[in-house]
């Protein structure tokens, strides 16, 4: 249950102990091992208590593992979750997609993630990334951590875990990655609608229609009945082109209205580097402005677009 989150800073042995403990009441626990390329964390499922020793948690544990929960509905599942991941778990509970009685969350304080994609772009794919808690090493040489902090972590408003614990402050953010992302946002915000249309056309022309954005999203759980893929509904054509890619993203944005928890997995998963979070962030901002709602903060909250307030919705009253 969310209310019983473990809060203390976890050493690796603590983490293993927590996972073992959770396995006493769960069929499996979702977490990470260090078996990914370059030693970065790879998502893993722990079934046996003996396996728990292989669990790691560091700044390369970028994935939002809540994406697996809708597919494991029939099982009792433990999940290692950062604060932003916990919001996704909350939202899945709010939507009655998963049964809170079958999910136990092992909350971990977030040291702020690193942008693995940017590091590999600079040092080569699979370059060894190590994080000993203090220093960030790439191929054995120390690099400035702040340079590879994504904006979503640098600007994170959820440093406070839903369970109430304040995470340690991120090392000084002098970071280039976040600065690049912020610059893009400023540039985008300054554009006219016509310039934005041109901007999106250029961005969407790189889409290869791999659906990674959808697969990585914890809230995209329609799976086989997704209208982005249905040729019956013809919302999108079958092609790989900017127009169809645009409609795909318009569908995603609309269907995530009031539901997106802002974890940024769609953008991180996009192999074409399309800045999908520009739209999601803007929508989250408007939703908060209109309905005072932030998805995944309160598992009991009513979804804002599945409800209304006849008298207090303050626009176009008559």
């Amino acid at each position: 249950m969310i209310s019983e989150l473990a809060k203390s800073e976890l050493s690796m042995s603590d983490l293993a102990a927590k996972i073992s403990e959770a396995l006493a009441g769960a069929d499996l626990v979702l977490g990470w091992t260090a078996s990914g390329p370059g030693g970065v964390a790879a998502p893993a499922r722990f079934y046996e208590q003996a396996e728990a020793q292989q669990a790691v948690f560091d700044s390369t544990c970028v994935h939002n593992l809540a994406v697996h929960l809708p597919r494991l509905k029939e099982r009792r599942v433990g999940i290692v979750a950062k604060p932003c991941d916990a919001r996704a778990v909350n939202q899945l509970i709010a939507e009655r997609e998963i049964d809170p009685g079958r999910v136990s969350v092992i909350g971990v304080e977030c040291p702020s993630m690193v942008d693995v994609k940017t590091i590999w772009r600079r040092f080569g794919y699979g370059a060894r990334i190590e994080d000993d808690g203090e220093r960030l090493l790439v191929n054995g040489a120390e690099v400035e951590r702040g340079k590879y902090t994504p904006a979503k972590c640098a600007d994170c408003a959820d440093r406070v875990h839903p369970a109430g614990e304040q995470s340690a402050a991120v090392a000084d953010v002098t970071d280039e990655t976040a600065a690049d992302e912020r610059q893009l946002r400023e540039r985008f915000n300054a554009m006219s609608p016509a310039e934005r249309r041109e901007f999106w056309r250029e961005q969407y022309s790189r889409c290869i229609r791999c659906y990674a954005c959808r697969e990585a999203c914890p809230m995209c759980y329609c799976r086989d009945v997704c209208i982005m893929q249905s040729d019956e509904s013809r919302w999108t054509g079958g092609g790989v082109n900017a127009g169809d890619a645009e409609m795909m993203q318009l569908i995603r944005v609309n269907h995530l209205a009031g539901r997106c928890t802002g974890c940024g997995e769609c953008e991180r998963a996009c192999p074409a580097g399309i800045p999908l979070m520009l739209l999601m962030e803007e929508q989250n901002r408007v939703v908060e402005e209109l309905f005072g709602h932030r998805a995944g903060v309160d598992p009991d909250a009513r979804p804002p677009l599945l409800s209304f307030n006849a008298n207090n919705d303050g626009w176009r009253k008559a």
Partner: protein, 152 residues
């Protein structure tokens, strides 16, 4: 000059009847608006509006029953939330927000309907022809139900 294409999604129970009334009363209205009859504004998926823009609409108007008067009691309350969110998201999608409007016109308000169409059409005429469509209009699906079932 190419003709403007304006699309109107109208609720069957009020605005559509209001538009009918304006017609039988022979009120003068501009002719660019093409009306699509909907069962309720609650059925107007915001994606329909975006799809219309994508396929080349220069303006989209949604009109339904006044709040409190919905034929289905609450359809337009849901619609109001969705459409307001959509209206504020349009600039981020790259669509001029002035090209979209939603409003309420009852079955008895023929004169008001004529005014709404006139105002909206004038506004879009000032803006002129919109952006090129991003996608070509899709051909009608000629397959039979059986062929479709085989493909899917």
């Amino acid at each position: 000059m190419a003709e403007l294409k304006l699309i109107g999604f109208l609720c069957n129970w009020c605005s559509y009847a209001g538009a009918d009334m304006a017609g039988t009363a022979r009120l003068k209205q501009p002719g660019e608006l093409r009306i699509i009859r909907m069962p309720c504004t609650g059925r107007v998926d915001p994606l329909l509006v975006l799809k219309a823009f994508q396929e080349g609409a220069d303006g989209v108007l949604v009109s339904g029953c006044h709040p409190g008067d919905c034929h289905y009691n609450e359809g337009n309350y849901y619609a109001r939330r969705r459409l307001e969110l959509l209206a504020r998201m349009l600039p981020a999608f790259g669509i001029e927000p002035e090209r979209f409007e939603y409003t309420w016109v009852s079955a008895s308000e023929g004169a008001r309907w004529a005014q709404v169409v006139d105002d909206f059409t004038t506004r879009i005429r000032m803006l002129g022809i919109g952006d090129e469509p991003t996608v070509a209009k899709q051909p009608d699906d000629q397959r039979t139900g059986e062929e479709r079932a085989v493909n899917e």
